[in-house]
């Protein structure tokens, strides 16, 4: 096989490598934090049992309210933005894949195996992530488990790669000046000097693109992805920019015209269950407390601007009105609950119940929302009542609430 690109070489590879060295740890860390936001200590993070493979567990805070929005926004948007850089980095080292002889020593064999783990895991994480945020589950296996353990394979291979290659990267970056490269037009673009790794072509074709052109091409690709993905995280006027993503639609001006996470039809919520017969049951005290919607509306109402922020990286901030969860806990006879278990009318599905931590029940902005933007909740948004808690992962803001059990 002949590799003829005249711009392939350790310097170019190292520039892509440096960008990934900065970005990939951020994507990884926000992913691991998201796992903690699902409150593994309450037994509801997926996958459930991860052994040692998690960050030290702490109580996910409720302030700032946009914490999970920020975390997942960074995880998903940055994860997508680096895809052109990952592809460019892989392209820049393709000659090494076909190196001959394929194995020179035990060290070489092991390193190549670790590179298979690195490339396999980074592409696995990107592919499953990109599919998941578009609700395409063609891969067939559990996204959560595969994406989580895949991340740890990536962490292992990434750390090893950085340990072994960091000196080479620094040395290569120093071999040319970025500033000079950015001023070098096509006519003055020449191959890098031959390198030990064999990235530089021994028979280069005449250049058709300068190094700065290649950087601009990859950077432009990343900028394009950023432009098309950030809107569904930030929302507002930027939302329609996410024209190719599920959450880029502006739905209208009505109080309930914002993004729905799982429709009432899909959750099989029958209007019969949500009509006048609906009662909220509070458990945990001496006896169960049953409340109708008018009774809830007669209680002190609190209003808060809070985002729904999903693990898929999209979010939407609305003005919610309802009863404070702390007030409901007191009413149930549990003033200081250690946690609360919320159940939905939704009979099946992974998120028809959710546990809330102590701080999530007692935060003054944590609500059982009855109204949104001054109107009753629509059925799709959880009528008669839904949970809304600051900085909580979207799916744990249970809709169509049937009961809350306060635990001590």
């Amino acid at each position: 096989m002949r590799w003829r690109s005249p711009i392939r070489g350790p310097w170019l590879t190292s520039v892509f490598g440096a960008v990934l060295l900065a970005a990939l740890p951020v994507v990884t860390l926000t992913g691991l934090l998201s796992y903690l936001a699902y409150a593994p200590q309450l037994g509801q993070a997926i996958p459930g049992d991860v052994g040692w493979l998690k960050l030290p567990t702490f109580q996910w805070p409720t302030s700032p309210a946009w914490l999970y929005q920020l975390n997942q926004g960074i995880h998903v948007v940055l994860g997508m933005v680096i895809i052109p850089v990952v592809l460019a980095k892989l392209w820049s080292v393709t000659p090494k894949l076909f190196t001959w002889p394929p194995v020179r020593s035990p060290a070489h064999a092991l390193e190549r195996l670790s590179l298979l783990l690195l490339v396999g895991s980074v592409l696995f994480e990107l592919a499953t992530g990109v599919l998941n945020i578009q609700y395409d589950y063609i891969f067939g296996f559990s996204f959560y488990a595969a994406h989580y353990f895949g991340a740890w394979v990536f962490i292992a291979a990434f750390i090893a790669h950085v340990c072994l290659k960091l000196p080479r990267m620094i040395e290569s970056l120093r071999s040319r000046s970025l500033r000079t490269e950015l001023r070098t037009p096509l006519a003055e673009t020449h191959p890098e000097p031959p390198d030990a790794d064999g990235l530089v072509s021994s028979d280069p074709a005449p250049p058709t693109m300068s190094r700065r052109g290649a950087l601009a091409l990859v950077g432009g690709g990343s900028a394009l992805v950023l432009l098309l993905s950030v809107g569904q995280t930030i929302g507002g006027v930027l939302r329609p920019l996410s024209a190719l993503l599920p959450r880029g639609r502006v739905l209208g001006d009505g109080p309930n015209d914002f993004q729905v996470n799982r429709t009432a039809a899909a959750a099989r919520i029958s209007p019969d269950d949500t009509g006048e017969v609906w009662r909220l049951t509070l458990r945990g005290g001496d006896g169960d407390v049953s409340l109708s919607r008018p009774q809830l509306l007669a209680m002190p109402q609190h209003t808060a601007d809070l985002p729904i922020a999903c693990v898929e990286g999209w979010s939407t901030t609305q003005t919610w009105t309802g009863v404070r969860l702390a007030d409901l806990a007191r009413l149930a006879g549990v003033g200081e609950p250690a946690s609360a278990q919320v159940e939905s009318l939704q009979r099946s599905g992974a998120f028809n119940d959710a546990a809330l931590q102590h701080n999530q029940v007692l935060d003054p902005d944590s609500l059982l929302a009855l109204r949104v933007n001054g109107a009753d909740l629509s059925l799709d948004h959880g009528f008669p009542a839904r949970i809304i808690v600051p900085a909580l992962p979207g799916v744990h803001n249970t809709k169509w609430v049937r009961s809350i059990e306060f635990r001590t």
């Binding site: 996958p47 991860v50 052994g51 040692w52 493979l53 895809i83 592809l87 892989l90 392209w91 393709t94 020593s105 060290a107 070489h108 092991l110 390193e111 670790s114 783990l117 490339v119 396999g120 592409l123 696995f124 592919a127 499953t128 990109v130 578009q134 609700y135 395409d136 589950y137 063609i138 891969f139 067939g140 296996f141 488990a145 595969a146 353990f149 895949g150 740890w152 394979v153 292992a156 291979a157 090893a160 072994l164 058709t208 693109m209 091409l217 690709g221 394009l224 992805v225 098309l228 024209a243 190719l244 993503l245 599920p246 993004q259 729905v260 799982r262 429709t263 039809a265 899909a266 799709d380």
Partner: protein, 180 residues
């Protein structure tokens, strides 16, 4: 580096530190697989719906399918202008290759990232989650592709026009100097 590699380096091919780092890597990665459950790697009725297949498949698709295809397409692209590279209008020539590469790559990147919506894959789960169909995505992607092509044509025209203008000015200056 020592002038004479020790016995370990002679056998292994690198220093002990190298082996230490990679051992750590394989232990952690192996532990992750153990925690997932090794049986989960191939736990599927459909052979390609297993994590192990997707893990290896990603590397194979990118390195052995995507890149060779791109490089073959690029070779064709580069061969065409070369065939018409004649000395007759040397000064005017603006190479067209990057004005084709950029819109094609931009459109291809969007297809690669957003194909589930574009080809309407995962219709049911998309509808259940959002309450909307994936109808608009194909059209939007096509419009974006048209936009990229138009911008590229525009950029090329400007470069070509500017190039021509410069050449004409230079020639006029040369003629004038000759006249003087």
């Amino acid at each position: 580096m020592p002038a004479h590699p020790g016995w370990f380096e002679q056998i292994y091919g690198a220093r002990a530190r190298h082996l230490l780092v990679l051992t750590g890597c394989f232990l952690l990665a192996g532990y992750a697989v153990l925690e997932l459950g090794p049986d989960q790697l191939f736990d599927s009725d459909v052979w390609w719906q297993s994590p192990a297949v997707w893990f290896l498949g990603g590397a194979i698709v990118v390195d052995l399918v995507l890149f060779p295809l791109c490089s073959a397409a690029d070779r064709v692209l580069n061969a065409v202008p070369r065939a018409e590279r004649r000395p007759r209008r040397r000064g005017l020539r603006v190479p067209i290759v990057n004005y084709i590469r950029v819109p094609v790559l931009a459109s291809g990147l969007l297809l690669l990232l957003f194909f589930p919506g574009i080809i309407e894959q995962g219709k049911g789960s998309h509808l259940a989650a959002t309450g909307h169909t994936q109808d608009p995505f194909l059209g939007r992607w096509l419009w974006l592709t048209v936009l990229f092509c138009c911008l590229s044509v525009l950029a090329y025209s400007i470069r070509y026009g500017a190039g021509r203008l410069r050449t004409m000015r230079t020639m006029r200056t040369i003629e004038r100097e000759r006249d003087d």
